[in-house]
């Protein structure tokens, strides 16, 4: 039993839904109670889809338990076929149906439906959403794709994009165009955008481009083995990775790696003087393994940040992320418990978080700016505008997205200079953010809000550290976006020196001590 408040991943059948909802002509018959239909809203509300996910839920009730649920499943299957006339059906159980052991796969196969029926085994009590998507796509490919003659012109399949994926819609457009520029045609993009008949002709491609290992790697490996299609290993997020990806594709396709990269602006934007203030900003990275790995490289090599911590929530990627963290000289945090992530961020006190929607909220509570780099994401992360993460335009988008939460370069200087100006004082916040800025909450408040239970005892006895009034006043003069760090550094320094009072001198001694 594990206590959970917020989860990074849903159950595995939601992963299967992401595959089915991304596709056309595929229907999912899910043995599940009525409440599980909530998952539809992920697609219709958060992703704003204009159609219902192609899912029929059996919605069995307590009174059906016993003999009736199997009939219910068969009826639902038959009705779904009659109504939607899909090219193929996937069937499976949610967590509750797994316990009643009706064997949806066996039941559906015995019905003699005139289309392929693909049974999914998704262990709800062991695995999660990404596994569910990966496994479902793999099963669909395994059942439908066949070896066949290669296309005349060099072509590839794009593997991995799903419904509800972070920027998958725009990544596909960007990478399809990039491949076209390289002289490579896209045979099939799947699962998102494909139908079962498209899957059946995947074998015509010369190789595969794996954009999202989380949801497409099992299928890519199967294709490599059974269709003789090698697949790309670099995920083209960031300038360096996009370059490596181009080289990889050029080699697989036997084409020249020369492409017009005049649209790429990140390198110049990062080099221009206004970006000097980004130097060494301490960032904490958290998300799915693939996006975190890509973000680490961008953060250090392309933005000039300092990566002060990283981690991922999908254990499947624990090993590569641990290795990467070692290379960056930090410790990897592999967990799906957001309280642990919050505690790590609080302890590290980064200047910015690159994370998921969970970290956005952690950042809000701790007063640390945050940009989103990975699923899970919310409605605002499905923007109307073209906004890829991959390829040249993806790099440009990332530069803008990561810089946006920060106070702008020149503004940062002005805030330091005129911090006592009555109009310019720091509660005004960054000028390009709407609304009323609020200063970072004081550390004590944070501890109180936190449900991680690390509340400080009311009476700390002799260990208590007192901020003298002058020092407290001086601290207030420090701009809000560095005040939390200044307070923590000063307190750490005082503890180091065994001090019981913080004076203005302590504050500046600490500043000198931690200067870099």
């Amino acid at each position: 039993m594990k206590l959970t408040v917020w989860t990074y991943e849903g159950p595995p059948h939601v992963g299967a839904m992401r595959v089915a909802t991304g596709m056309t002509g595929l229907h999912y018959v899910l043995h599940a109670p009525q409440g599980d239909t909530y998952a539809d809203l992920l697609f219709t509300m958060i992703e704003r889809r204009n159609h219902r996910p192609p899912v029929t839920y059996t919605t069995f009730q307590a009174r059906d338990l016993g003999s009736d649920t199997a009939y219910l499943f068969k009826d639902a299957c038959r009705d779904a076929y009659e109504r939607f006339k899909p090219q193929a059906i996937i069937v499976g159980a949610s967590c509750t149906a797994e316990l009643i052991q009706d064997d949806p796969g066996g039941l559906a196969e015995s019905m003699g439906l005139p289309v392929p029926v693909i049974a999914l085994e998704l262990p709800s009590y062991q695995r999660k959403e990404n596994f569910g998507a990966d496994e479902t796509f793999f099963q669909v490919v395994r059942h439908l794709a066949k070896p066949m003659a290669r296309s005349e012109r060099v072509s590839c399949n794009i593997l991995g994009p799903t419904g509800l994926g972070f920027r998958h819609r725009d990544d596909i457009t960007e990478i399809t165009a990039l491949l076209y520029d390289l002289g490579v045609e896209v045979n099939v993009t799947a699962p998102m955008g494909s139908s079962p008949s498209d899957i059946a002709r995947m074998g015509a491609a010369h190789f595969n481009v794996l954009l999202y290992p989380e949801t497409g790697e099992a299928a890519a490996r199967w294709c490599e083995k059974n269709l003789g299609q090698p697949f790309t290993k670099t995920v083209p997020i960031g300038v360096g990775a996009t370059g490596d990806f181009i080289a990889e594709v050029a080699k697989l396709a036997g084409v020249s790696p020369a492409v017009d990269d005049s649209r790429l602006r990140l390198p110049w934007y990062a080099a221009s003087v206004d970006s000097t203030y980004l130097t060494g900003k301490r960032v904490f990275l958290f998300g799915d393994g693939t996006h975190v790995a890509a973000a680490a490289r961008i953060a250090r090599d392309e933005m000039g940040f300092t990566v002060c911590g990283m981690g991922c929530y999908n254990r499947e990627f624990a090993r590569p992320i641990r290795a990467l963290a070692k290379e960056y000289g930090v410790e990897a945090l592999i967990t799906d418990d957001y309280l642990e992530v919050e505690a790590a961020i609080e302890a590290l006190a980064p200047e910015m978080i690159l994370g998921t929607q969970m970290e956005r909220h952690i950042g809000k509570r701790l007063g640390i700016p945050c940009a989103v780099i990975s699923a899970p994401v919310h409605v605002q992360d499905f923007p109307a505008r073209y906004s890829p993460q991959m390829g040249f335009e993806g790099a440009n988008v990332i530069f803008d997205t990561w810089v946006h939460p920060l106070v702008m370069g020149l503004e940062e200087h002005l805030l330091h200079m005129f911090r006592d100006d009555f109009e310019f004082h720091d509660a005004a916040g960054a000028s390009h953010h709407g609304g009323k800025a609020t200063a970072a909450p004081e550390p004590d408040t944070i501890a109180d809000l936190s449900i991680s239970g690390k509340k400080k005892p009311e009476n700390q006895g002799a260990d208590v550290l007192v901020w003298l009034a002058d020092a407290e006043k001086e601290l207030k003069k420090i701009p809000f976006f560095v005040r939390g760090k200044a307070r923590r550094n000063t307190e750490a320094y005082a503890a180091l020196k065994g001090l019981q009072e913080v004076s203005v001198d302590t504050l500046y001694e600490a500043k000198a001590h931690y200067a870099r």
């Binding site: 206590l3 408040v5 409440g35 909530y38 219709t44 204009n50 919605t59 307590a62 338990l65 316990l99």
Partner: protein, 426 residues
Amino acid sequence: MNDHAPLGPGCRDTPVLKERGQREVFCGLTGIIWLHRKMQDAFFLVVGSRTCAHLLQSAAGVMIFAEPRFATAILEEKDLAGLADAQDELDREVARLLARRPDIRQLFLVGSCPSEVIKLDLHRAAERLSIKHAPHVRVLNYSGSGIETTFTQGEDACLASMVPGLRDTDSRELLLVGALPDVVEDQMLGLLRDMGIDNIRCLPARRTDDTLACGPNTVFALTQPFLGDTHAALERRGARHLPAPFPFGEEGTTAWLRVIADEFGVDRATFDRATQAPRARARKAIAAATETLNGKSIFFFPDSQLEIPLARFLTRECGMTAIEIGTPFLHKALTGPDLDLIPAGPTISEGQDVDLQLDRARAARPDLTVCGLGLANPLEAEGLTTKWAIELVFTPVHFYEQAGDLAALFARPLRRRALLKHGASA
């Protein structure tokens, strides 16, 4: 007594279309999202699966990310293997939780489909834990599972679980039942006090209240139409129900108050003095939205179980025509007075077969469709204007001062569609 008697026969005896197919409704766990805000010293611990945790997270969105007083104890493979373990694990998790949340006075163990199917006895667990953590924390249990409860029935199950713990009393008391936002509850109490009715208690109370009592001289009124089990539990304790239309809109609120006033012998003049001004305000506020709603048709998918009283409000006070009123369950002892007031005509349906119902809605092309979040955007993309039902349980909509807001909730989608010049194709 009624100012607006029905013009013809109402809908109480309309034959009901009973459907038993795929439902597209949340389960009872959803109620936790508003209950945990209402009961400020209560914690809701769902014993369930990753799906249950994901449902709560998705239904709550991120709007209440700050410090929720709920969590899910996710069952894992090893818990499913041996049941004795699961009880021990639960004890451990609860002890840990209560240690870090000393402010918690009431803990609800909430059953889910998986815990019901493996027959994890949460009642026994609650009794054992109550003894262990007495007197500081009381531990109760109920089921919010999707195989037993639909959406708002979770609140019903929760409140019903509190009834056996009420103290016995012989004194004459009025118990008002249903979770309302504090500001609305205060308005309600204010109106009744102005009529000279004191000795009122609310279930649920904002904070654990050991003086809440029930007995043969208790009368109770429901503020929500989905409280069937709570109603039965209170009657078993000897309390007497005051059936009335539900307090939505000016007419509903007046009728609801009138029933209580009659029970407590409030004279007409006092009643009028207390209600006149807010009634006039409510009428005025409703009139503003009625300009948009008048003459429009409406179709209800079954969702919050508020459908019948809302149909009454919209047809009688806002000039709308109901085509179909779908409700997850029809509980005539509770919604009968509302059904009486709805002019005959609409189809009344109970339960759901979502694809068939979508066919009916597409054929009828109502001006406004009330449905769940899963259906709203797809229907909008087909050119139907929708109102998501979940907002009705997350927004203050009861009593006079909210009557205008309630009407406006339905008017806004229509006004919006009229404003947007470029259609809704996606």
